[in-house]
């Protein structure tokens, strides 16, 4: 696994995800394509309802019905996830692609000791593993996360918020996956704990040579760790590029607005950019660019058809008619 840094590991092509509901269909994800390379930390950012969490769930085929991928493909190491059967998926989830959810308290079982959480996870993928071997392995992972191995005997409620989140990461890493998806992992954490968590992710990335998809609304946190950033709006990718490109020379007006409206502790800001209006209703999304109604640079063309995602600078793609 140490070889092949920079090679594609997850390829998403023209992905559409729908949630049919009584009043119509929520068009949650529209025509999303991108490639995750080995060793990448990809920040997937956007505001609530932009489709980022739905997209993350689809990589593990974990969309909750009635949600479904209506077209497009997701390939992990060349294998199509959408066509995988139950057994194949079982081997994929956790062992190849692991997911860490937002709220550790609802993901950990309050009645199970931490050791049992780890034992169960290991046993699902290796039926013959002994308790002692599982605990040895779990203890090793905990120590890497800065938690004493004795705490395996504790229950989730005995841990602090930051520790619970690290346990979640530990459970994600214990099977040595190649991709870790973390959905808003720091939302419930205080700023110092969050910073510690970001430090931890950085060091784990080195140790485990893992690719990470970090789903978050917190641009500043993502800027601390991601090497590439994808910005989503109204179910579509607005822009994707290296972290430096996204922050220094954003192409899409939405990205520009998003960066301008984040208070920066290092800057003396006299005003923040305001983006009046709110994101589109995804049951009846606009025919053109989803951002058109709020865009300061809107043109006639924008209302007609959604702009394609194209590369305008090496490694930087945007979906905007301005650059066509």
């Amino acid at each position: 696994m140490s070889t092949g840094v920079g090679e594609p590991i997850l390829e998403v092509k023209n992905l559409f995800i729908d949630y049919p509901i009584t009043i119509g269909t929520v068009k949650a994800v529209r025509d999303v394509s991108f490639t995750l390379n080995k060793g990448d930390v990809l920040g997937l950012v956007g505001e609530s309802g932009c489709g980022k969490s739905t997209l993350g769930l689809s990589f593990l085929k974990l969309l909750r019905p009635p949600g479904k991928v209506s077209s497009g493909s997701i390939e992990f190491e060349g294998r199509d996830i959408m066509s995988m059967g139950t057994e194949e998926l079982r081997l994929l989830r956790g062992a190849q692609i692991a997911m860490v959810f937002q709220n550790p308290l609802t993901s950990l079982d309050p009645l199970l000791k931490l050791r049992d959480h780890f034992f169960e996870t290991l046993r699902v993928h290796n039926a013959y593993i002994s308790r002692s071997a599982a605990e040895k392995r779990a203890g090793d992972v905990l120590e890497q996360l800065g938690i004493e191995r004795e705490r395996l005997n504790e229950y989730p409620h005995q841990l602090s918020g930051g520790m619970r989140q690290r346990i979640m990461i530990g459970l994600g890493l214990i099977l040595n996956p190649s991709i870790l998806i973390a959905d808003e992992p720091t939302t419930s954490l205080d700023v110092i704990v969050e910073a510690g968590f970001v430090d931890l992710l950085k060091s784990l990335k080195e140790q485990y040579e893992i690719s990470i998809i970090l789903i978050s609304h917190n641009l500043a946190m993502v800027a601390e760790i991601a090497n590439r950033i994808a910005v989503m709006y109204g179910g579509r990718l607005a822009e994707i590029g290296t972290a430096e490109q996204i922050f220094a020379e954003p192409l899409h007006p939405y990205t520009q607005g998003l960066i301008g409206c984040v208070p920066n502790i290092n800057a003396d800001q006299d005003f923040l950019i305001s983006m009046p209006g709110s994101p589109p209703d995804l049951v009846t999304p606009p025919a053109g660019c989803p951002f058109a109604a709020r865009c300061p640079k809107v043109m006639e063309k924008c209302a007609v058809a959604p702009p394609p995602l194209r590369e305008y600078r090496p490694g930087q793609q945007a979906a905007c008619w301005l650059y066509e």
Binding site: V193, E244, P263, I265, S274
Partner: protein
């Protein structure tokens, strides 16, 4: 600057609820959460004081004590020179008109069964300022001002029919309708989306100038505090550990905790990534806080003297106070 609010030696202890097992086996001895532990500060007229700290630092409790939404255990609160900590509820009502509050979650601070217009004009009726058509007119004018337009149309809407940014505007309008002088804003943007946050912050800034407001801005987000506040107080486990002008506290932080907080704030710029690791550990329990300086178990500069006695807030530069006994604990930037 004329002083509007002064708080001296404010204390709030919450008794810890005990279950039957504790009562049977651990005997007597009531324990307390020391939520606010001898806090003093003042806010000048037209000033924005930021109260920043992590969860459990006592910042929200302080805000509530100030408005007497919670009763203090000890200490006094002065509003315009008058001690309001001992006056009766009836007299307090007159002050309530001038002191308003905006909470974190607009959805839970609005009644789902009250229309937007009723919610905004209700304080006018409660305080007997106006009613009927007059109240409606006042509410509509304010709705226009905070960007709830078309006001006539939104007046009859209910909270669930509005977007997140709009509900936060309703809460702001409701707080301002009695023409207050002082507003406690308790994490008013914590739940909002990034683009909505910026709009609300901008609006709060404009309204402050227009209505000559004084704010106590409670936040865990130092970048936001820096954007809006004139002065900052940093709280840790119920105590103010550092207080001073925004420029002093951010440019020359003195207390190691302030420094740790500042270091931990993520910067929206990948070229300025944090290099040093942040201190480990989390905020301890306020039931049995550490002795001496509460921060000493996590402090990289702690010496033996830090473990005994509460470090007093001392002036490290004009108007800038720090509760650290060390001369220069932190490398100055």
């Amino acid at each position: 600057m004329e002083e509007l609010i002064r708080v001296s030696n404010l204390v709030k202890n919450f008794p810890v609820q005990k279950g039957i097992i504790d009562l049977l086996f651990s005997g007597s001895g009531q324990q307390y959460v020391h939520a606010v532990d001898d806090v003093s500060f003042s806010i000048g007229k037209g000033e924005v004081l930021g109260l920043a700290g992590e969860s459990g630092s006592g910042k929200s409790t302080t805000g509530r004590l100030l408005l007497r939404l919670l009763e203090r255990t000890a200490g006094s609160i002065y509003y315009g020179g008058k001690d309001i900590s001992t006056i009766g509820q009836e007299e307090m009502r007159k002050f309530r008109m001038k002191m308003q509050v905006v909470f974190q979650d607009p959805d839970s601070s609005l009644s789902p069964r009250m229309s937007v217009g009723d919610a905004i004009s209700d304080p006018l009726r409660i305080h007997g300022l106006s009613s009927g058509r007059e109240a409606r007119e006042t509410a509509l004018r304010l709705m226009e001002r905070v960007g709830l337009t078309p006001a006539e149309f939104l007046y009859r809407k209910y909270p669930h029919q509005l977007s997140g940014g709009q509900t936060q505007r309703v809460v702001l309008a409701r707080a301002l309708v009695t023409n207050p002088e002082f507003v406690v804003a308790d994490e008013p943007i914590a739940m909002a989306d990034v683009s909505v946050r910026a709009m609300i912050l901008e609006l709060m800034k404009e309204l402050k100038d227009e209505f000559s407001l004084t704010y106590l801005f409670i936040t865990h987000d130092l970048a936001t505090a820096k954007y809006l506040c004139d002065r900052i107080a940093i709280m840790y486990l119920g105590r103010i550990v550092e207080i001073g002008s925004k420029d002093e506290v951010f440019r020359h932080p003195h207390h190691p905790y302030t420094n740790a907080l500042l270091q931990a704030v993520p910067v929206p710029d990948p070229r300025l990534r944090r290099k040093d690791a942040v201190p480990r550990g989390e905020i301890p329990s306020a039931i049995n806080p550490p002795s001496g300086c509460h921060f000493h178990p996590r402090c990289p500069f702690a010496v033996d003297a830090c473990k005994v006695g509460r470090p007093p807030l001392r002036e490290v530069s004009p108007g800038h106070f720090s509760a650290c006994i060390l001369e220069t604990a932190t490398p100055q930037s």
